[in-house]
């Protein structure tokens, strides 16, 4: 499989006085793979996504995208930046950040306009994408009039309209009601029919087995594990150590206290 992203020994800090947000990170993301980056808040997963999208640049180490260096100098080149933005899309955690246009239609049309598509193509592609996400009825709605689930779908539509090869999603199911969560998960499961690359940063462990076939666990800016989602989620001690689950203390009928990781995936467990 061709590598989409190759990250080698990357270090990143938000300021010279702060701790490293990413500490010696190396990983490879291949074409067509579905990768989950799991970690507690502040573990560095969002920072990694921003580096993969060419929004942050590491202080040391290297990142390549589609076999070309992904750095500030290359992104200054218009042809390179044009091609990269066309192929890689990023859905931010907070949809309000991403929905900066006055209407849903304008929002979805923003990307194609920046890439100078012609007007008839833009109108056609925007209509198709709104249909795909089942949000055509929101076309003229202002972003502040949308629910959380609708905002998330509009944010996804706004990047899918470019038909990217790679989609990076930061906490795609965070703060969504169960129905909206399942809509997003269903979409990610179906999207691209195995040809597209999906990288999801999340601490919503329940959705990971559905949307990913490869997973990393981050803790304090470091990779502490890399395996299939099922293997990682079966390792309760690892999840406890990474602050992805908490210990659930309770009493049973025999009056004795019990303790086990609070995890919904693979819920069957022994009480010892």
């Amino acid at each position: 499989m061709d590598a989409v992203f190759t990250v080698q020994n990357v270090n990143y800090a938000y300021s010279t006085t702060s701790d490293l947000a990413l500490n010696d990170i190396s990983l490879t993301i291949t074409q067509g793979s579905r990768v989950a980056i799991m970690g507690a808040n502040g573990s560095g997963k969002s920072t990694l996504l921003r580096i993969l999208d060419g929004l942050y640049f590491p202080q040391s180490g290297s990142v390549t995208a589609f076999d070309h260096p992904l750095d500030e100098a290359h992104l200054m080149d218009e042809a390179y930046a044009h091609a990269f933005r066309r192929r890689v899309a990023f859905v931010f955690q907070n949809p309000d950040v991403q929905l900066f246009n006055p209407t849903v239609f304008d929002e979805v049309a923003f990307g194609p306009l920046q890439l100078r598509w012609d007007k008839p193509t833009i109108i056609k592609k925007v209509a198709e994408t709104l249909d795909l996400l089942e949000i055509s009825h929101l076309r003229d709605r202002a972003p502040h009039r949308l629910s959380g689930g609708e905002k998330k779908r509009v944010a996804i539509a706004s990047v899918l309209v470019l038909d990217p090869e790679v989609i990076l999603l930061d906490e795609p199911t965070a703060a969504l009601d169960p129905k909206s969560q399942s809509r997003v998960v269903d979409f990610l499961v179906d999207w691209g029919a195995g040809k597209k690359t999906v990288v999801v940063a999340t601490h919503d462990l329940d959705t990971v087995p559905d949307i990913a076939d490869d997973a990393y666990i981050f803790k304090q800016g470091k990779i502490v594990a890399h395996d299939t989602p099922r293997n990682l989620l079966a390792n309760h001690q690892l999840l406890l150590d990474a602050n992805l689950v908490h210990a659930h203390h309770h009493y049973h009928d025999d009056g004795k206290p019990h303790s086990h990781p609070h995890l919904h995936f693979g819920h069957a467990h022994d009480h010892q």
Binding site: R50, L55, N94, F100, P102, D106, Q114, I122, A142, L162
Partner: protein, 282 residues
């Protein structure tokens, strides 16, 4: 607009009053959007035609110097408001406000403009002249027509379309985009401010002293400023991520339809008759 965005009796508490005002601002915006999306005569017109038509009608009213033209324009304006589903209840606060404002400016003309005396104020002995009364009436009626036309233009058009239609007048795209983004994020900030005041209100007992209220307002402004700075950084990255490289492009999707082609000659006819009448009676 204000008529429909009503609240219960406002309490004296500074925090509560602020929450009410923020909620009212958001409700007014929602009402304006609902009205703009309803079926009315002006709602069916292209925003550019409405904007140009409004300016032409205001110019006709401003230049009118015969009471017939002014009254005719007032009737046309009132008819447009009703056919656009704007109720009297909505318009009356606008009219009263403008009447008070323009009345205060026009009032001295009653006594200062020389002309045939119509009446005299008892005790004060001030004379009201017919010419002065005519001048004041003109000022008030023209102001009422202008504000009503502006109001119905704004409330029958989505604000985003009003901004976009400004491009037809040569306003640079960058300015239009900045105005649009300001309009979009002002609601997010309103919501944040409302949440902060509500959080504070849930922990306040009784009325806040004035100095404490001022301190709270200043702290809220500080937090909002900090949030808006963070937001602007993130929004810029979201724009970059989708190909923004400093040049702004927006889609001009307005197209003239049958209603617009009917409206153009009607507006021109009304304004033409107004100017012609002014000319022959000059």
């Amino acid at each position: 607009m204000g008529g429909e965005a009503h609240h219960g009796k406002k309490r004296g508490n500074f925090v509560q009053r602020t929450i009410d005002a923020l909620a009212e601002a958001m409700e007014r915006s929602l009402y304006a959007e609902q009205l703009a999306s309803s079926r009315g005569i002006l709602q069916n017109l292209d925003p550019r035609i409405k904007l140009i038509g409004t300016l032409l009608l205001i110019a006709t009213a401003a230049s009118a110097h015969t009471i017939t033209v002014v009254i005719a324009l007032a009737v046309v304006t009132f008819g447009l408001a009703l056919l656009s589903r704007i109720s009297l209840r909505t318009l009356s606060p606008i009219w009263i406000g403008m009447f008070v404002f323009s009345g205060m400016i026009g009032l001295p003309a009653l006594f200062l403009v020389p002309g045939p005396i119509l009446a005299t104020i008892p005790w004060l002995g001030w004379h009201i002249s017919a010419t002065g009364l005519r001048s004041a009436a003109f000022l008030i009626l023209r102001s009422e027509i202008s504000i009503t036309l502006s109001f119905i233009m704004i409330t029958t058009t989505l604000w985003t379309h009003v901004l976009k239609s400004l491009r037809s007048f040569g306003i640079p795209t960058l300015i239009v985009v900045i105005l649009s983004m300001t309009y979009r994020y002002i609601f997010l900030m309103l919501q944040s401010a409302s949440d902060m005041f509500e959080a504070r209100q849930s922990r306040v007992i009784g009325k806040l002293p004035d100095n404490e209220a001022r301190r709270l307002a200043a702290a809220t402004v500080g937090v909002l400023l900090s949030k808006s700075f963070q937001l602007s950084n993130d929004v810029f990255m979201a724009m970059q991520s989708r190909g923004f490289r400093g040049e702004v492009y927006i889609l001009d999707e307005f197209t003239l339809r049958r209603n617009d082609y009917i409206a153009i000659p009607v507006i021109l006819l009304i304004c033409g008759v107004g100017f012609w009448f002014n000319y022959i009676t000059a």
